[in-house]
Subunit: 325 residues, 4 copies
């Protein structure tokens, strides 16, 4: 028996990736797609390579009160655009919100699926973590849970491919000619992802995340997030790797590697790579994490969360290897 | 019951893509991998994102006489390296040769699967078309078969991403710093793919491919082939599109589009996009074709051929949507 | 004594490149800059690396009737935006129009400077060739002038970096995520540059340019134009190269090379590279040309034209080597 | 009267950029070029766009005892290859060593030209700083000199374009297909540039650089270095900016900007951009610096040093604006 799913925000990159993953999912059947810029088109007009079975599906104008019967709705709307609208979706429809409006909001579970799967199963409103938080928190969770690093004064130097900025209105800053061969720091000391990271660090550690620093950079590539995180702690590299291997022993999507991870290892997948390099003499731990910002950073994580809330195997539709090169 | 398959040439890009597709294939079980540069490593050391079930498989040194029991062998060896070696593979092992040594060779079927599936089913030695020929011939086949263009004096202006040059020994011409922001014609009037294209044009048309011109270009992108083909013929755009739609009506991987295809439409998939723009007053037909050089141009086509010779559904393991963006 | 120059269209890529070249020019002094999007800013706010002497220059709102005293105005306005406005510029101000409105217009010289310098010197209204025409015509001129190819049925397969599409309003088609790793044909059978190419072919050859085909492609790189041109003629490769070497013997910017030119050879320069590969048995000549679309394809060519009309050495301010890698 | 200069290491990227800058220099005349891979070729064969006056210069095999009469030699050799060979260059030839062998070596001045020009003028053996050190030290110098940050526990998260890895032997890790769309940390806790950075921090501050952390990353772009540096100090953003503006008030190449610098601002130039964002409540200063790794990070800095030791204006040949976009 198939599970009826819908996507709102199909015109954006997160919605497009959700479409790709759902089209290949063994249990999900896409019956509804809505999008601002593409309403009135058939899916194949916007996604020329969409599987034939979905080619003719009409993209609707988004109206939360005019949905067809749905089991799960994936919402990939700009920040600020989903809170009010998703409140009007019927209770019977489970929602995974890929956008940022419901993270740590009342009534919503924070869907950090590799770390807290048990807090997700059985819920019907899931706030998907942001791309930087997903990479960061998967990397830090084992260290914080084992007390190997202090929760305060963590410095996160974060780098993302340009699809992380969203498809937007075609801001010329994200135009090819201006962003290719360019590397751009932005949002210093005030990025929107900081509260979600700080709250989770505190829940994982039981301590205060005071002094958290988060500096994002735009990298001239389409996909990929790498976080390089500087922490205080006296653990050795081997202790950190060991803690992570134990922490993720039964989790299917997190890979602990000896060498520093590269963004291309994750492209097109829901994988999360973590590694560590420590210098106990300096009480320094460098933690590194890689995800695909549209995979574990958005649609892949969302499908994983949907699998959990639907009682499906967590890896359903998500077991493809990354695309390389 | 699973079909036991092996890959030789796992260190190269074609072999790596075969690994990705086989790992996700519902009927194929990878039991053997061999490669020059990576012999002695486990798969996970070379492919950090490989599915867990294959992570520990040892990459062997290639020896055609020391194979485990296999149903199908995918060979992705450099041109010149496969003819002698594959002759020593036992008869009972079906072979799909992704490399160039057996195209139109005795005893080998030419695996142009979207056009001639019936010539492939039942065979045990398949020569996979090259990446430029796959894109070109899928695009021209409907026009040649319907007599809409002349087989002579066809001009193919071909463009490929840099993975098409192979992983090689790290030739600095293919280094990032020298090939990024660069566009390079090469191999003028003598590319290795010309004979295979000419022979197929003649088989499709029954006429002579005299005057064929083929000019390849290296484009600063990893994957993707686009061919822009200038032909003589008095058909209209609509007649060309109609002929292609009829020709591929029951074929799962070829998409006929009204607008000019873009390489990114095919990335990571086995799809082939074709389109046409004609000016009957000038007796001109411009035919355009797009494939992923590692998909339909190599490993995707190979899996399609393997499906055909194993009596599986042609789309088994190949129905994923392209990766976008 | 310095020559007082102005730029209108400083916000665009062509205007920005004119600024870079003029800033380094030994005789030109920039005294006026105007631009739509950046009026009210100082130059350094838009161009953080602009030489200190120009940093404080205020970008004005464009008003052709409120110009300061100027000797030369470089106009880099969108097609359609310059014809009416430039008519209101005082007669005493020489104009080089980088935009498309005045090519082969009454009263304007067509500024194909490497081929027809003598038609430019002494004039005061110059229409700069487009980027594709500059690359194409420099490549074909020696062959047409020597009668080595027929003027009819020429097929131009043209490729440009994405800055060639202009900075525009940030069309998402030119966004990094959608255009990186993508190769896109466009404008089939109807590109705006065709008339200018056809007219020039006819002037150079004295024959008809009937049957001209021009197919542009967007390549995922910032700068660079390559044209691959298929012509009918029975000359040998050596005859073509020899004709070009003779034709450009005293011209400073055109380089005739034995091997196929690459776009990166020209980056940041006003150079034009041409080469040829012929097959007399098939009466085929493949002519290849490379320019930087913002150099010889726009601002470099414009400065060369301005040098000619001001009686300066043609290479003034233009003798820098290309940027490599 | 011209100054006779030579380049050894012309086949590499640093040597190639030195060629470009010297070719445009008003006082330098290139009379000697040597290179491993290209000995026996004319310059134009390796650099198709080289100015005509240099096109025919023969690239020699490097022999420090068979030099023509030279005033200055630019050496751009791999680390480890220059110490012994440069000792055999006659005393009368001034040397700027772009390679790493002589930084803080006896008899050699450390050529941090924007900070310590007076220590360079009058010397005849200059060790050019590495690309990461140049970006880092220009950024930190004003803060350290004014005591606005502590010299200990500085964390440098460094990012470089791939030309920073050198042209090398074509290591496939730097191949386009593997490094495009990839972001790679490397050399954790042990990068070769650390001692030079630590020593300079100590000289600037008079304190200890204990606890220095340096993490380099390879970014998929050709040129550009960005360092994001996390320091302890209670200065405000305005105090940091003010200190840098005062420190560099009379220096021509360092630009202090309010907004975070981007690598593309510096491409092709000898400029160095610095900016700061501080949070006094957390005693945190984030210092950011951008250079072109082949400009201020190699050949541009070298020409600046050569200007200083030759008594020329420091900006001779270096006043070109960056290439944008």
């Amino acid at each position: 028996m198939s599970i009826r799913v819908g996507i709102v925000g199909i015109s954006g990159f997160g919605g497009g990736e959700a479409l790709r993953l759902i089209a290949a999912h063994p249990a999900f059947e896409l019956v509804y797609a809505a999008g601002e810029g593409s309403a009135g088109s058939r899916l194949v007009e916007r996604f020329p390579g969409v599987p034939a079975k979905l080619a003719g599906l009409l993209i609707e104008k988004w109206d939360p009160e005019a949905l067809p019967p749905l089991d799960v709705l994936f919402a990939s709307l700009p920040t600020g655009a989903s809170a009010e609208a998703l409140a009007r979706v019927p209770e019977t429809v489970k929602i995974v919100d890929i956008g940022g409006d419901h993270r740590y909001a009342d009534g919503w579970a924070y869907g950090l699926a590799d770390v807290w799967p048990e807090q997700i199963a059985g819920r019907s409103r899931i706030a998907n973590p942001g791309c930087f938080p997903a990479a960061t928190l998967n990397t830090l969770a084992p260290l914080l849970a084992h007390g190997l690093i202090a929760p305060g004064n963590i410095v996160i130097d974060a780098k993302t491919g340009i699809s992380g900025a969203g498809r937007g209105g075609g801001d010329s800053r994200f135009g090819f000619a201006e962003s290719n061969e360019n590397l751009q720091p932005y949002g210093l000391l005030k990025h929107v992802h900081m509260p979600e990271i700080a709250t989770t660090i505190e829940r994982l550690s039981g301590g205060s995340a005071d002094g958290l620093v988060f500096t994002p950079h735009l990298v001239p590539m389409t996909r990929g997030v790498l976080v390089t995180i500087y922490c205080r702690g006296s653990a050795s590299t081997e202790q950190c790797l060991g803690a992570a291997r134990a922490f993720y022993a039964d989790r299917p999507f997190v890979r602990v590697t000896d060498r520093p991870p590269q963004t291309k290892w994750a492209t097109g997948s829901n994988l999360s790579f973590v590694s560590y390099a420590a210098d106990p003499a300096r009480k320094l731990v460098i933690a590194m994490g890689v995800v695909d910002n549209l995979g574990k950073g958005a649609a892949g994580h969302a499908v994983q969360n949907a699998n959990l809330i639907c009682g499906l195997p967590e890896t359903a539709g998500l077991d493809g290897a990354p695309v390389w090169p």
